[in-house]
């Protein structure tokens, strides 16, 4: 059976104005838990749909797994920690490409340059204090 050859380039598209970019070996987007984020990727020829998943690194838990015909996915990070995004193209249930991983600079981009990235979710601080 023909295996799809995937060259997915995907990118973090922040709709969070306060996102901080931290430059280590891997770029880290620092986002509060519960904020909505969007990633997008390029279309792959012959792909019928895409599979997307996010893994919480500290626990290894898959926190989201979706099939999508769209080229974007919006999600939230439910708890503190590091998150890595995966996407692959599928022609059928049994014919999918390898996973493209956001920490692999072959596939990931930051500001239009090939860069590994992941997200770090932190707990948001409380708001304004009042005393009476």
């Amino acid at each position: 059976m023909k295996k799809l050859v995937l060259i997915v380039f995907f990118v973090f598209v922040s709709n969070v104005h306060s996102a901080n970019l931290r430059e280590f070996d891997i770029y880290e987007y620092w986002i509060p838990t519960g904020e909505f984020l969007t990633v997008e990727w390029q279309a792959v020829e012959n792909a019928k749909y895409y599979q997307f998943k996010i893994i919480h690194e500290e626990t290894g838990r898959v926190i989201k797994f979706d099939n999508s015909i769209a080229l974007t996915k919006t999600f939230t990070m439910p708890k503190t920690g590091h998150y890595v995004c995966y996407v692959r193209a599928c022609e059928s249930e049994t014919n999918c490409s390898d996973w493209a991983i956001s920490v692999d600079p072959t596939f990931a981009t930051v500001k239009d340059a090939k860069r590994a990235w992941r997200c770090y979710a932190y707990i948001a601080s409380p708001g304004i204090i009042t005393i009476k």
Binding site: P78, A124, I129
Partner: protein
């Protein structure tokens, strides 16, 4: 011991869904409030009478107050701070001897 009025500290809750509770930090001016300051776990409350906290200072003065949110792993948020808060915990002395003058 007189009747001390309540000192209610309220704050806007953290928007994070994984908040398990809040901590309040207090430090007397001129020291900045920090994670090393005296702290109290106030649970899920977003409004509390600080004069009722156990071992709370009862010294009148100017204080810096900080609030953090924490999750189930005890990760803490950055601190929301209110500086230079005047707190008055001590009631004035009672009036002196009472006399009645018959007119």
């Amino acid at each position: 011991m007189g009747k001390v009025k309540q000192t209610i500290v309220s704050f806007v809750p953290s928007p994070s869904p994984d908040v398990m509770g809040y901590k309040i930090y207090i430090e007397q001016v001129p020291n900045p409030v920090s994670y090393d300051s005296k702290s109290y776990d106030i649970g899920n409350n977003t409004s509390i009478d600080i004069s009722t906290l156990p071992d709370m200072t009862t010294t009148d003065g100017i204080y810096n107050i900080g609030i953090t949110a924490y999750d189930d792993s005890n990760n803490e948020s950055s601190m929301s701070i209110m500086e230079n808060v005047s707190l008055d915990f001590l009631a004035p002395d009672a009036p002196g001897g009472i006399t009645i003058t018959r007119i």
